[in-house]
């Protein structure tokens, strides 16, 4: 019999296929023992993996120099692996009680976990996560599974992946291994993994809490993220129904595509720019004439999935791909924005006491801390833009000082390029992300110092409402239509209009059809979204009348009743 379970839909598209269950933090080892004459070998195996992990940690820590924060962090991790009492009690379990190496390690973890549960200090308690990661790595080494690449193999081809949590790196791996879709028991719709899955058109449902208990390996599934449902072991009638919708959707997409080559002009003849967000330079292939340029290229992914840093040449090649494809349309390259939920290679994590990474060293703050890294990136951008229209976008700007410092570094990068006799573009624009409320409030001051602004609604909403968008407990309170949010977005748009500079919304709101008319009503004339959303949003824009929308918008700004507000937005 079929079972229906629900979750939060992320990227659209019905998918029908077989489930493959992959849990990442599977520390649950079944008790296992070895025979007496195997004890010695088992103990050696255990010491070997501990030493191997130690060497791995040392190797990655030696790659980054002159960064005391990272060195400290790596030293701390090393002391976990090197822990004397951990090693002793694991070995004792093997030598005296004939435990297998993996059972000795996992049972030691469980006894430590018990002790940590009694600890009140939240920060110390959280260190169990570090220990857990170390345990997972040790167990993986014992099973000689290659670390971290569980999602990049042939097993998951044409399968629907069921897992607990997913990182942006995993999404990329799944995309490359041709997985059909992803269902996670945790996570959030606005995490970076979710954004990535949208832009790669990988159907995904998150927060499907019952998935762990219900879905088994090999189960046939229908997932429909748009309607937030999963059908486990569907019957013939259900299958027929969804296959029909699937084919109808495909033909709808085809018909959308016909309209997309037209310009997005509203009924009252306002030209709206519809640009696209890119994550990976490979995505350039998805681009066609339908977009008015690249409104946001997130460069973080160049830095992910690796232990070293991308060189200037490597970045130059990646950015050049974009410029070559887009030709004379603007290309907005955002400088590195690591931190928060963006998992970058171990080598780049800075600082240790990060209770609240969203408020930590991220975006421009990190770039001003790692100035050389920033300059290398700028140099690559300037070189790649030789024949293009480059817009440099700086994330997480809070103060005018940061803008000035960033501009100084850009000038330094130019001087270096001249010295190195490399050809580059002298024409470029510098803009800022509006995601910190301080910069939104001060937009009239900042607008005099930049060429354009880009509103990153995801972070802006998170900071205005003080909601951590990846915290399961509060994610339901995350509301981009809160009057405080709308008021501030309106203010930034109006300021930019007055100062005659471009303003774009590049957050998730821009690509969601329920907000299109709302944003038009707030006066927005430039949207940037994942390429998959462009056809549908363009269609909506062409059906809209901005004058009429602007009249209706005041009622929404004043409405403090969530349900009523949603209703007003839907009826725009």
């Amino acid at each position: 019999m079929s079972i229906i379970i629900t979750g939060d839909g992320v990227s659209r598209g019905i998918c029908i296929g077989q489930a493959i269950v992959i849990y990442k933090d599977n520390i649950d080892q079944a008790p296992s023992f070895v025979s007496k004459n195997q004890v010695r070998k088992e103990a050696k195996k255990c010491l070997d993996v501990i030493n191997k992990l130690k060497t791995e940690y040392k190797k990655s820590s030696s790659k980054i120099k002159n960064n005391p924060a990272i060195t400290k962090l790596m030293n701390m991790q090393l002391s976990f692996v090197d822990d004397k009492s951990f090693r002793e009690s694991v070995l004792k379990k093997i030598n005296k009680h004939q435990f297998s190496a993996s059972w000795a390690i996992s049972s030691e973890y469980y006894s430590m976990k018990k002790s940590f549960e009694d600890i009140e200090d939240k920060y110390i308690k959280e260190r169990l996560i570090d220990i857990k990661q170390m345990i997972i790595s040790l167990l993986e080494l014992i099973q000689s599974r290659k670390e971290l690449d569980i999602f990049s193999n042939d097993n998951i081809k044409n399968k629907i992946i069921i897992t607990d949590e997913i990182t942006p790196k995993d999404i990329i791996d799944i995309h490359h291994s041709k997985g059909l879709g992803v269902i996670t028991s945790h996570g959030s719709r606005s995490s970076h993994s979710a954004i990535l899955s949208k832009s790669l058109a990988l159907p995904m449902l998150v927060k499907v809490e019952s998935s762990i208990n219900i879905i088994k390996n090999g189960d046939k599934l229908i997932m429909d993220p748009e309607n937030q449902i999963i059908i486990v072991n569907p019957d013939e009638i259900e299958l027929m129904h969804f296959k029909k919708i699937q084919s109808e959707n495909n033909s709808l997409i085809k018909s959308f595509k016909k309209t997309t080559n037209k310009k997005a002009v509203t009924k009252d003849r306002i030209k709206i720019d519809v640009m696209c967000n890119l994550e990976l330079s490979e995505e350039v292939k998805l681009l066609n004439d339908s977009s008015d340029g690249v409104g946001l290229f997130r460069t973080e992914y160049l830095y992910m999935n690796r232990n070293d840093l991308p060189t200037e040449q490597e970045q130059f090649q990646a950015y050049s791909k974009v410029f070559n494809k887009v030709k004379d349309k603007p290309v907005t390259l955002r400088t590195l924005d690591i931190g928060s939920d963006k998992e970058v290679s171990e080598n780049m994590k800075v600082g240790q006491i990060v209770k609240n990474p969203a408020l930590g060293l991220r975006g421009i703050r990190y770039s001003l801390y790692e100035k050389n890294l920033f300059k290398v990136q700028i140099k690559a951008m300037l070189r790649a833009a030789k024949n293009g229209r480059l817009r440099i976008l700086i994330p997480m700007i809070t103060t005018l000082d940061e803008i000035n410092q960033a501009k100084e570094l850009i000038d330094e990068a130019r001087v270096e390029l001249i010295k190195e006799k490399k050809s580059f573009s002298h024409k470029y624009e510098v803009g800022i992300m509006i995601e910190v409320p301080a910069s939104a409030i001060q937009s009239n001051v900042l607008s005099k110092h930049v060429d354009f602004m880009s509103i990153g609604t995801n972070d802006l909403v998170q900071y205005i409402l003080a909601i951590d968008r990846i915290d399961d407990e509060v994610t339901s309170l995350y509301d981009p239509t809160n009057p405080a949010v709308l008021q501030l977005i309106k203010q930034v748009i109006e300021t930019c209009d007055k100062s005659k500079i471009d303003v774009t919304v590049c957050g998730e709101m821009a690509g969601e059809k329920m907000y299109t008319k709302l944003l038009l009503g707030l006066g927005l004339t430039s949207f940037s979204m994942h390429p998959q959303a462009i056809p549908e949003i363009k269609n909506l824009i062409m059906q809209s009348d901005t004058k009429a929308l602007k009249i209706k918008i005041n009622a929404i700004l004043k409405c403090n009743d969530y349900q009523k507000r949603l209703h007003l937005i839907e009826s725009l």
Partner: protein, 89 residues
């Protein structure tokens, strides 16, 4: 054997980075170094055991050093605690 009682002064308590420092100092000496809090013992060479003490700011701890270089070892450990593990806070 020498023993000494101390109060944890820094804001974050005996947190992971501080504990890592204790371990690295303890490893410089031959003596056994045991840190006790509320009846729980921890070998100063084990970061995990140190963390499990859950010694927050203001906690009273006892340091026990025993061995050939016990005097120097005690001096170094005491200095580290009193300097708030060389961190600002």
């Amino acid at each position: 054997m020498i023993t000494k009682k101390l109060t944890i002064l820094n804001k974050l308590g005996l947190h992971a980075r501080a504990a890592a420092k204790v371990v690295s100092i303890a490893n410089e000496f031959e003596s056994t170094i045991i840190i006790t809090k509320d009846g729980k013992n921890a070998d100063a060479r084990s970061i995990m055991k140190l963390l499990m003490l859950s010694a927050s700011q203001g906690s009273r701890i006892c340091i026990e050093v025993d061995g050939a270089d016990q005097k120097d070892a005690m001096k170094s450990i005491e200095k580290l605690f009193n300097n708030k593990f060389d961190e600002q806070k």
